[in-house]
Every structure is written in structure tokens, then in C-alpha cells.
């Protein structure tokens, strides 16, 4: 329920960021000079842009509640339709990236915690730091340079080979580049969280007790350490979303992936306010829900939280 005022706050922010700015959508058309003034006024009236700003907000917000996100100024089509055309592409990219991040990150984190202060630990922690510091878009460019331009193993961008019918294989080949870039960047965070979570659990009394009882180290690792260390990671699923959306946007641009990130940048160039506002709201709502879901999930998997 705490989410409702937050949602209202986000909608106000998304709306006013787009409207308090100098240069309204009409100025994009006016700048061309080819459209006569009275025609501009008429368009402004049809789009409702001549009304007071709070009236516009309430109209927009009440439309949102009923699932009507307004109409694109650029194409006249419903915003919700434009956005949801792009959602599958982004979902595929983010989904695979999350998979890569969790597998690589968690694995690296576990190894590095178990072999603390070893060469492997050093490589993993330093590697994670490098992963967090390298700009995603540059990493993407280097992947294109190496695997597409030089070795020719991967396509240099896009979602499908031109002129070829859709096939899962073709889609996957196009997905490898962008999802690895996004996923390896995310894996850096996952490995850091996993490592610190593991180290915390390893130092607990019940692990020492398990050792003292003479349990097999392998058993202790699987039954005691991992189970307790990996539970807090479910919160990262949601907490990370805000950053992941940023990474996705940039990755989509580098690889020409036609998802919502590219739609956002394209809409900004076209000064297509309704689409921009719709995307701002949509991504924020997803981030909000992700955080909420992470909290709920944490309670489900960790009985200790429920008791408190």
C-alpha cells in the first residue's frame, strides 16, 4: 500500500519533467516553419496542449488508471500499443542477461569466498571491480569489434538477419552479443553480493558447529552455507532493476536492439512526449514492483524475516 503514494509521486515527476521544460512539443513543428500558425493552434487544441497544466495532468493520470496512456504525437497511435510492441525484445534481452549474470556472478562469488585471499579470489574481486567500471556501451563496441568485425562469429547488431524468416537459432545468435555484455556487467554486482553473503555465513557459529560435529565439508557447503548465503540474493533481483534498465537502454543502442530503450531515445529525438512519459512511468512502476516483489520473496524464502 505504501506503493500508491510513490506511484502518484512518480507520475507527477514523469509528467512535470516533460512539461515544465522550455520548448513544448509544438515547438518541434513550429521550428520547421512550414506549418501555418492557425494549423499549429488547431493541433495544439486537438492534442489538449492548450489546457492548464494541472488539467492536462489529471486527464493524463486518469487515462493511465484505465490503461489509456494517450496517443503518440509523432504517429497518432496509442502509446500503450507502441510500447508493448517493443516489450518482448527488451524482455528477451533482460531475461537472458539476468540468467548470465546469476549463473556467472553467483558461481564466481561462491568460489572466491571459499578460496578467500587466493589467486582466484583476487581475480574475481578485481574482475568484478573492472566489470563495474567499464562503460557498458564501450564494452559492447569492443564485443562488436572483436566478434563481429574481426572474427565474424556474431552479427554486429539488430534482432534478426535481414530477409531471413524468423528462427530461434537466428534470434539467439543475435541475442548472444547484447545479452552477454549486459549480463557480464550485471554479474559483477552479483559476484560481489554473493561473496560478501558467503563470507558472512562462513563466519557464523552454526557453521563452526557443523564442522565440530564432523560433518563432511561438502555437506556443510550445500546444506548450511549455500542455503543461508544465497537467500538474501533474491532482494538483488529487484534492487538491481533500476540500474539494469539504464544498462539495457545503452546496450540496445549499441547493438541496435529494437526494445524500449531504443524507443525511448527515438521518442526523445522526435519530441514525442506521450511516449516518453509512458516509458518513464512504465520503467519506474516495474522498478517499484521489482523492489516490492523482492521484499515479498525474501519473506517467503527466509522464515526468520517472517517471525520478525
Amino acid at each position: 500500500m505504501q506503493g500508491v503514494p510513490l506511484l502518484i509521486g512518480i507520475s507527477i515527476f514523469a509528467f512535470f519533467v516533460m512539461h515544465l521544460a522550455p520548448g513544448d512539443p509544438m515547438s518541434a513543428y513550429a521550428a520547421g516553419g512550414s506549418i501555418p500558425m492557425e494549423e499549429l493552434r488547431r493541433m495544439e487544441h486537438i492534442l489538449g496542449l492548450d489546457q492548464p497544466i494541472h488539467v492536462q495532468y489529471f486527464k493524463w493520470a486518469s487515462g493511465m488508471i484505465s490503461g489509456n496512456m494517450g496517443y503518440s504525437i509523432f504517429s497518432g497511435r496509442p502509446v500503450i500499443q507502441i510500447i508493448f510492441e517493443r516489450v518482448p525484445a527488451t524482455l528477451q534481452l533482460m531475461g537472458l542477461a539476468y540468467g548470465i549474470a546469476i549463473v556467472f556472478g553467483v558461481f564466481a562469488g561462491i568460489i572466491s569466498a571459499l578460496k578467500r585471499y587466493s589467486v582466484i579470489d583476487y581475480i574475481v574481486t578485481t574482475g568484478a571491480m573492472i566489470g563495474l567500471s567499464v562503460p557498458t556501451f564501450w564494452f559492447g563496441m569492443m564485443v562488436i569489434l572483436l566478434f563481429a568485425a574481426t572474427l565474424g562469429w556474431l552479427p554486429s547488431g539488430g534482432m534478426a538477419t535481414l530477409g531471413e524468416p524468423f528462427s530461434i537459432r537466428d534470434r539467439l545468435i543475435h541475442l548472444i552479443g547484447p545479452s552477454s555484455v549486459l549480463g557480464l556487467w550485471m554479474a559483477a554486482t552479483w559476484s560481489r553480493y554473493t561473496r560478501s553473503g558467503m563470507l558472512e555465513v562462513i563466519g557464523q557459529d552454526y557453521i563452526r558447529t557443523a564442522h565440530a560435529k564432523g560433518l563432511l565439508p561438502r555437506l556443510i557447503l550445500w546444506r548450511h552455507t549455500l542455503r543461508n548465503a544465497l537467500i538474501p540474493l533474491v532482494t538483488l533481483l529487484g534492487l538491481e532493476l533500476r540500474l539494469v534498465f539504464g544498462g539495457t537502454l545503452v546496450t540496445e543502442i549499441v547493438f541496435g536492439w529494437p526494445g524500449i530503450g531504443r524507443l525511448y531515445v527515438d521518442s526523445l529525438t522526435r519530441v514525442d512526449y506521450p511516449v516518453v512519459m509512458g516509458l518513464l512511468l512504465l520503467t519506474s512502476v516495474v522498478v517499484l514492483m521489482g523492489n516490492l516483489l523482492a521484499d515479498v520473496l525474501y519473506c517467503v524464502v527466509d522464515p526468520r524475516i517472517r517471525v520478525e
Partner: protein
């Protein structure tokens, strides 16, 4: 029993920056002039922090790199081999090391090395000033929220929650697309979208600190609210703020480079590492050096600040001992 006593003494003296060895000798507890193994002889708090930081080799390396980069940025007019704007169409896309271009040239025959050096000025300026603004805004709002609690607190924190739900790059792009993108607007916009972490952290610190006895003592002698915040609370929250500032420099540099890469940041012909990559986007498959070097510099700079931040965190953490 006497060992405990020495240890407590040690803590008090360390806190006051005094020489423990002298204290132990003065107290006459240890007649052999020997110190217990866990005590650190004769070091002030600052000396311990410095020593702990120096132990973190990557942080030291990061610090050195930052100093070198800053020097290059300051001395750009004298160290850059040529004019970063000088167009020479005769030598377009010269590979590194040829025609007198150490790191090659771009599509207008401009010297890449010179542009990289001048771009460093931009990126470092954005990074450092942004971090400064985020710390000031973040600390003040965090301090107010934590100290006053109630309506003020929930008002500020709900606003933080709202901003923390919207992906930063989306807001940055939306806002910068309206304004004339200059160094000033970019810096301010990045700062205004990245202070929330500091606010949350400072608020948490303050909530803890204000329950401590020395705050009660300050209130008892009649100190006002603003005096308590500025003189008593903020200095005690300094360590995490310092770490956050360092990490914020890294994030701001990344944000600026991403914005410039997307074409909404620093505008050409002024060079920034990000817009050099935007520029390289069309050519990098055939002239890879146009993309390799700017990206490496961003990564190196950000990595250095991240390592320094990590080193500072360990150095300032009293739970991590020197031994």
C-alpha cells in the same frame, strides 16, 4: 585485568591522538617498556588510516593514476602534442604511431591523443563537481531528515524513494534533451539525479549518532539544532560520506560518458571521452583506435576512483585492524 586497562587506555589515547607508549610508561603498568601485542604504538587516528590505506595496493595505484590524470588535465595546454581542434584532412584516420599521431587521428585528421587529454578535463570536472554537489545536497537533506524526523523526514525520504524508482539514465536523457547541453547543465543534471544515495546513508548515520550520549551532552549545554548538526553530527558521519563521494565521482564520470555517447551530453567540437565514442560509432569497425582509447581512459579513470573508494572504506572502518 591490567591488560584490559591498558587496552582501554590505548583506545582513549588513540582517540585523542596521543602517544600510547608514553601513556603506558607513565602509568607504570608495564615496567619492561613493552607494549601488549594488540596495541598500536604511537599512532594517531590519521596515521592509522593512512597506513591502512597504503596497505591496499590497488587503491594506492588508483590514487596515483588519478593524480596523473588530474595533472594531465590541468596541464593540458602544455602537455598535449597539438591543438585538439586542429583539422588536417590530409591525414584522416591515421593509425596510431603514423604521420606523427601517437594514438592516431579521427575522421577530420584531429590528433586523438590531444583530444583525449583535453577531454579528460571535461570528464574529471563533471565527475568531481558532481560529487561535490551530491555530497553537499545529500548530506544536508540527509542530516535534516535524520535529525528532525517526523513530517520533514518522511517528506524528504518519500521524494528520495520517488527519484530512486526512476532509472537515472532515463531522467538524464529527458532533462538534457530540453536544455542547451553545456558543461554546466550536464553537471547539474547529473548531480541532481545522484544525491539520493548519500541522503539515505547520512540519514541512517544521523539516526544512530543522535542517540549517542555526546549529543545529549551538547543539548544539555544549550547548543542549538544547527550547531549540533554541523559541529557534532556531520563530523562523525564523515567517513562513509567520504567513501560515497569517491564512488560518486566514478558514477558521475560513467553517467557523463553514457550521456555524451548517446549524443545528449557534451556537444562537439568540445571533446569528452563519451562524445568521442559517439563519434567513433560510425567508424570503429574499420578504424578501431578511434573507439579503443577513449573507452580505456573512461574505464581506467572510473576503476581508479572505485579502487580508491574501496581502499578508503577499509581504511576508515575501525573494525578492520591494522594487523
Amino acid at each position: 585485568m591490567s591488560e584490559d586497562y591498558i587496552y582501554i587506555e590505548h583506545c582513549i589515547y588513540e582517540y585523542q591522538g596521543l602517544d600510547l607508549r608514553k601513556a603506558v610508561i607513565d602509568s607504570g603498568i608495564n615496567s619492561n617498556n613493552e607494549l601488549p601485542s594488540y596495541a598500536v604504538a604511537g599512532r594517531s587516528q590519521t596515521a592509522i588510516v593512512v597506513k591502512k590505506f597504503l596497505r591496499h595496493k590497488l587503491a594506492v595505484l588508483g590514487g596515483v593514476i588519478i593524480i596523473v590524470l588530474v595533472l594531465f588535465a590541468i596541464l593540458a595546454p602544455s602537455v598535449s602534442p597539438s591543438d585538439p581542434y586542429l583539422i588536417n584532412t590530409e591525414y584522416r584516420f591515421s593509425p596510431p604511431g603514423q604521420n606523427g599521431y601517437l594514438l592516431g587521428s579521427d575522421e577530420l585528421g584531429r590528433d586523438l591523443l590531444s583530444r583525449l587529454i583535453w577531454a579528460g578535463r571535461i570528464s574529471l570536472t563533471v565527475g568531481l563537481i558532481t560529487a561535490l554537489i551530491t555530497v553537499i545536497v545529500g548530506s544536508i537533506l540527509g542530516a535534516i531528515a535524520g535529525y528532525y524526523s517526523g513530517v520533514v523526514d518522511s517528506g524528504i525520504m518519500r521524494f528520495v524513494d520517488v527519484l530512486l524508482s526512476i532509472p537515472q539514465i532515463f531522467v538524464l536523457l529527458a532533462v538534457t534533451s530540453f536544455f542547451k547541453q553545456s558543461l554546466t547543465t550536464i553537471t547539474i543534471v547529473i548531480a541532481l539525479t545522484s544525491w539520493m544515495g548519500v541522503t539515505r546513508m547520512v540519514r541512517g548515520q544521523i539516526l544512530y549518532i543522535k542517540e549517542q550520549d555526546f549529543i545529549t551532552a551538547a543539548q544539555a549545554i544549550g547548543a542549538g539544532n544547527s550547531r549540533i548538526i554541523v559541529r557534532e553530527i556531520l563530523p562523525n558521519a564523515l567517513a562513509p560520506v567520504l567513501v560515497a563521494t569517491t564512488l560518486n565521482v566514478a558514477n558521475a564520470i560513467l553517467a557523463e560518458s553514457a550521456l555524451s555517447y548517446l549524443g545528449y551530453g557534451i556537444q562537439p567540437p568540445t571533446a569528452s571521452w563519451g562524445n568521442m565514442l559517439n563519434n567513433a560509432q560510425a567508424y570503429f569497425m574499420y578504424e578501431p583506435w578511434t573507439a579503443i582509447f577513449p573507452g580505456m581512459l573512461i574505464a581506467l579513470t572510473v576503476l581508479s576512483f572505485n579502487f580508491v573508494g574501496d581502499g578508503l572504506r577499509d581504511a576508515l572502518d575501525p573494525r578492520i585492524s591494522l594487523n
